[in-house]
């Protein structure tokens, strides 16, 4: 953004410059006793902005394109997602096929590039299929929490008053629980299982999303252009749709992207405790738990599911950091 814009003086011999001089001339004061002096539009008087036209989202993409670290990790995340999506094509074996003989075998044994687990199933295949479950359990709660929490937060923030107090105090009660504890408590109380695990995580993530949206909305609500919009007669929903949402979407998106890595960790953690996915469904957390007893036999194989969780989580984290850096710039 440049601050220097050359100003062409008003009477620089341009067409239509019978304009009054840019000075407070006491002869020309209010009222009707002054005749019109110009009929031409004043286009030529204006200074031309020196920068290229670039909207907010375009500048975000521009910054992202020039951020190599974030791009690299984004590619890795994409690869992980693709590997999970195309698991049926990529997996060398059936992830459910057990083998009594080939249990807990190390890397490379008889065509199993990453060994086998305690029931003789191929690790690579289970990791690939497990990726589907883990990624799903990581992303879906964040999506739903963003939608629900976001909407609640925008409403509470914009309407203000008692509604705001009611909504935010309710969220505060859930904030009073440490997130792991709340997730475990809800998932545990509901009896475990993938759906309950996702529900628990959604409930854990909704209050923070709500808070982020409410804070952003409250800040925007106090700005002058909202008042100008109200002055032109717009209804509340119209103002929210055209003026508020665009400005709230940014912080919500940034926060949601940072929640994804936490969600993956928590989801796998729930499965690790036996509160998430149930066997024989492959899931990284569950695999880590069942392989735990076998660390004395094939330690490297047993550490693999956790490595998968770690890599996915750290890549998501770095991508979300990069997104924040790209989106959070004051214009």
């Amino acid at each position: 953004m440049t601050d220097y814009t050359p100003v062409i003086p008003a009477n620089a011999g341009i067409q239509g410059s019978g304009a009054p001089t840019a000075v407070l001339d006491p002869r020309f004061r209010g009222g009707d006793d002054v005749t019109e002096q110009q009929t031409e539009p004043l286009y030529e008087e204006q200074a031309l902005p020196a920068t290229r036209v670039r909207g907010y989202w375009q500048s975000v993409f521009y910054r992202l394109r020039h951020d190599p670290v974030t791009l690299v990790f984004a590619v890795i995340v994409l690869l992980i997602v693709l590997a999970a999506v195309f698991a049926p094509l990529l997996a060398p074996f059936d992830p459910y096929k057990e083998s009594i003989v080939g249990r807990l075998k190390p890397f490379g044994w008889r065509g199993h590039p990453l060994g086998t687990d305690e029931l003789g199933r191929d690790m690579l295949s289970r990791l690939l299929f497990g990726g589907r479950v883990s990624l799903l359990m990581g992303v879906v709660p964040v999506l739903i929490a963003s939608l629900v929490g976001g909407m609640l937060g925008v409403l509470a923030g914009f309407v203000g008053g008692r509604t705001n107090t009611a909504v935010m105090r309710t969220m505060d009660v859930f904030y009073a629980f440490p997130s792991v504890l709340l997730a475990v408590a809800i998932a545990g109380a509901m009896g475990g299982g993938m759906a309950n695990g996702m529900l628990a995580l959604t409930l854990v993530f909704t209050p923070p999303m709500c808070r982020v949206a409410e804070t952003a909305t409250t800040q925007v609500r106090a700005l002058d252009y909202i008042e100008a919009a109200r002055a032109s007669g717009a209804r509340t929903m119209t103002i929210i749709r055209y003026h508020v949402l665009g400005n709230v979407l940014g912080p919500v998106f940034i926060y949601a992207s940072s929640l994804v890595s936490i969600s993956i960790l928590l989801a796998a953690g729930l499965s690790f405790l036996g509160l998430g996915v149930r066997p024989p469904l492959p899931d990284w957390g569950l695999m880590l738990s069942t392989l735990r007893q076998s660390i004395y036999v094939v330690p490297l194989v047993c550490a693999l599911p956790g490595l998968a969780i770690f890599i996915t989580s750290i890549c998501c984290n770095l991508v979300s950091d990069g997104l924040r850096a790209a989106m959070d710039v004051r214009m």
Partner: protein, 318 residues
């Protein structure tokens, strides 16, 4: 100041109440009848009715809540279905063990995290900043249950330096901190538990310090002739409130997140108690543990807020 403190404490009361409502409600969202854990499957209708009445399940829900709340306030959390011991004893024993872990993890995590963040923030942009930030990102993205397993693999399986699980050769009752044979069981759990707080604190501190250093008042201090070390001290002091807030939250994480680490190391703390209670569907223990842990978290946040307002005068006005 007193007014702010009173207001803040007053505000914590409805929160605590809400927490108790949620704890109470947790049990009732569960599928299945809580009675089934207590009764044999072939109980007659009569027996069921008697037990139902004894446990108070036949009264309407709000009534049950108030009765439960009344008992809780006097410290009666009921009796554990699994061990027949009073819940409050179970919880306090377990909490003491978790507190032992926290006692070591808190200073280590806070100290290292804060120091790392302060160093990174003070040298923002240079290589040490990158190293610390990288380490912090790793710390934050680590599944701590996995880290525990990896540490066990390295130190217990491969090199046999430290024990893998448990709380000492005598268990939790005979735990003697001063003997290395007992204390060595602490090492791996504490290290594992500290990882994520170190990462988060390093990141928060670094951000706070780096931002403060860019502000005008720092330039003024330098212009007045203060040494770089004195300037840094000023900056760190100003960063404290923000960092303290995060520390409070992290303490809560240590309470709640200990469940994963304790499960890996079979450490008989509150988290382990919780997971056992979930598996056994031991309702009183479940409610008692969750309630205790959350209330401790609420109290911690309250204390942190009050301490913050002591240090940062801006907050008192709000």
């Amino acid at each position: 100041m007193i007014r702010y403190a009173l207001r803040r404490i007053l505000y914590a009361i409805p929160i605590a109440f809400g927490v108790s409502v949620v704890c109470f409600a947790l049990v009732y969202i569960a599928p299945g009848d809580p009675l089934q854990t207590v009764l044999p499957p072939d109980a007659t209708a009569e027996t069921i009715a008697i037990v139902k009445h004894a446990y108070g399940f036949d009264k309407p829900l709000p009534m049950q809540f108030l009765i439960w709340l009344g008992r809780v306030v006097t410290g009666d959390f009921g009796v554990s279905i699994a061990t027949r011991r009073p819940v409050i004893l179970e919880v306090s024993d377990a909490l003491a063990n978790t507190a032992l872990l926290a006692m070591f993890a808190v200073p280590i995590a806070f100290g290292i995290g804060y120091a790392m963040g302060a160093v990174a923030g003070s040298f923002a942009g240079r290589w040490i900043d990158r190293v610390v930030t990288g380490a912090a990102v790793i710390g934050v993205s680590l599944p701590n249950y996995w880290l525990g397993i990896v540490l066990v693999i390295v130190f217990a399986v491969e090199y046999m330096l430290l024990p893998a699980t448990g709380m000492g050769p005598n268990g939790s009752t005979g735990f003697n901190l001063l003997q290395w044979s007992n204390a060595r069981f602490l090492v791996l759990p504490v290290v594992t538990l500290s990882m994520i707080p170190i990462g988060i604190l390093a990141r928060t501190t670094r951000a706070a310090v780096a931002e403060l250093r860019n502000q005008d008042f720092v330039q003024t201090l330098r212009a007045k002739g203060l040494s770089e070390w004195a300037v840094t001290r000023h900056v760190l002091k100003n960063a404290m409130p923000q960092v303290m807030a995060v520390m409070g939250l992290q303490f809560g994480y240590l309470l709640g997140g200990s469940i994963l680490v304790e499960t890996v190391f079979t450490w008989p703390g509150s988290g382990f108690l919780l997971s056992k209670a979930i598996i056994n569907r031991d309702v009183p223990v479940l409610q008692g543990t969750i309630l205790t842990l959350s209330l401790v978290f609420v109290a911690t946040n309250l204390i942190v807020d009050l301490m913050q307002s002591l240090i940062d005068p801006r907050i008192r006005r709000a």
